[in-house]
Amino acid sequence: MSITENVLGDRQRLAYIASQAADSRLNVELETEGMTLNIGPQHPATHGTLRIIARLDGEQVVWAEPSCGYMHRGYEKLAEVRTYPQVTTLINRIDWLGSFANEVPFILAAEKLMEIEAPVRAQYIRTILFELSRIANVSLFLGDLGVQLGAITPVFIAFRDREYVLNLIESATGGRFHPNFDRIGGLKDDLPAGWVDETRAVMKKLRGFCDQIEDLLFGNEIFQSRTRGIGVVPRDVALQYGLSGANLRASGVDWDLRRDHKLPMAWDKVDWKVWTHPDGDSFARCWIRLQETRESTKIVDQLLDLIPAGPVMAKVPKIIKVPEGEAWVSTENPLGEMGYYVVSRGDLGPFRVKIRSASFNNISITPWLLRGVYVPDIVTILASLYFILGDIDR
């Protein structure tokens, strides 16, 4: 919190916390005095700068609320002063672990407004890179999950195998973390020679990685006892809060934008499965992500065989002016539904971009979810909801 924050604001917040805590006092007989615990902004469980204010009764959480904004970079405002090609460099940095996936919905929205479509080859390569960034993102989640729950080794295994994917992304796009490879009308460049074979080999390694993580973590009885039945989100609540991605599918909603939205991408050309889980608990969310990583490797493998020959860039003018209109495009990003509502005024840059990032909605359920759990479960729940700070604060 900034130093300039006035006392009144703090007092209001404390009053609000007290009123909330009074509503849900758990230990009524003992009337013990609670304790307010500040988890964050610098805390290992928040992997970033999220702060969680938790009112505790012993180890039990009476009331908790996340306080975000420590990393607010004002991308919606910044996008208004940038041209369309410049915006992609910004939105790369929203979910910094799956950067390429961030670019795609924005580019698709701009293409939709311009009424053009990328060449088929570009669509296939886009889909492959999209899935690679999903693997890069989720594999880190799978490793980090271990750290959050106290196991040190999974994260190193994850970093080891994620490196292969990052190398692929870098050799194709030039950027490890921030590819900025997507252009309105196609891609910046074609793939370098030898990339396809390399990718096949890496996908095999990553399936091995998934098996290792499953043995090391998901099959572990301690892990299961820590996650099963913790942080259960029923279907209706998940929908109301706008949870998306694996979090939504873990609550039994069979909805994957890759399958259910008709986008000019190549997902419908290959055979893969949308996993759902009926439980809605932390274990279900983590398990769905593990399965999705496996599906992603399958998607990439199949697409590599199918890439058609041809150009990767449609004919677009050098100076891009997007016609007047409004467009909403969202895709199934590693973290969930990521969408851009682009309003254009026929100018070089967008008039307004509303960035609908998945983590913001995903994390907004925490005040509801954290009531009555134990302190270690805060970590479990936050880890299983899986957020990237840049994706919350934008």
């Binding site: 604001g9 917040r13 405002k77 002063v81 929908l239 706008g242 000019p264 409004e326 840059g349 509303k354």
Partner: protein, 209 residues
């Protein structure tokens, strides 16, 4: 130019939506997606109808938009030149609009996977709107964001604190008349800075390049 394929599923029946909302619907726009504009006083009721009658259970986002063009442009003006004229007329977007500020939200049906964008006008001088956090619980944080970014008050919201900005922050950053300081404090380096020949450009009328 090829015909673009629809990037969103089409609304199966626009008439169905119109019938359900009745006279609360002011205007609608249908391209490959559906835009609705509802009456300001019927905002919450409309959202409730969308959820309960039409099955739009999934809350995607809520935000606002300031339709006034920015008086600062992209911050690329030469400070030595007079400020260029800018067209400051307010033109509303799809489904129309009568005010400078509009709130819009997107909800979707998790079964048919159909989404709809709902807009509502907000009075510019006293921007107040009913809160829909009890219709869609997820709207809570989005309304807090719209509140601090656009200065729109949401009636009935339990806790309209700032979510991103410090609590003593003044101004509403996403309004167009809020200057982006980063682009104000430094001149644009793209302004041409090529010293002409001492004798003037006419001295050499030879071929360029």
């Amino acid at each position: 130019m090829s015909t673009p394929s629809s990037t969103q599923p089409r609304i199966t029946s626009v008439a169905e939506v119109k019938a359900a909302l009745g006279d609360r619907l002011v205007d609608s726009f249908h391209k490959d997606d559906l835009w609705l504009r509802v009456r300001t006083d019927a905002w919450k009721a409309s959202m409730r109808t969308l959820r309960d009658t039409l099955g739009f259970h999934y809350f995607c986002f809520l935000s606002a938009i300031d339709w006034m063009p920015s008086p600062y442009g992209r911050g690329e003006d030469d400070p030595t030149e007079p400020t260029p004229e800018r067209d400051m007329t307010i033109r509303p977007g799809y489904a129309g609009g009568a005010t400078r500020l509009q709130v819009f939200a997107r909800v979707a049906n998790p079964v048919t996977h159909v989404g709809v964008t709902v807009k509502v006008d907000v009075d510019d001088s006293a921007p107040v709107l009913e809160s829909i956090h009890d219709v869609y619980a997820g709207a809570n944080w989005h309304e807090r964001e719209a509140h601090e970014m656009f200065g729109i008050k949401f009636d009935g919201h339990p806790d309209l604190r700032n979510i991103y900005l410090p609590s003593d922050f003044e101004g509403h950053p996403l309004r167009k008349d809020f200057p982006l300081l980063a682009r104000m404090v430094k001149p644009w380096p793209g302004i041409v800075d090529v010293e002409p020949l001492p004798g003037g450009d006419e001295a050499a009328s030879g071929e360029e390049q």
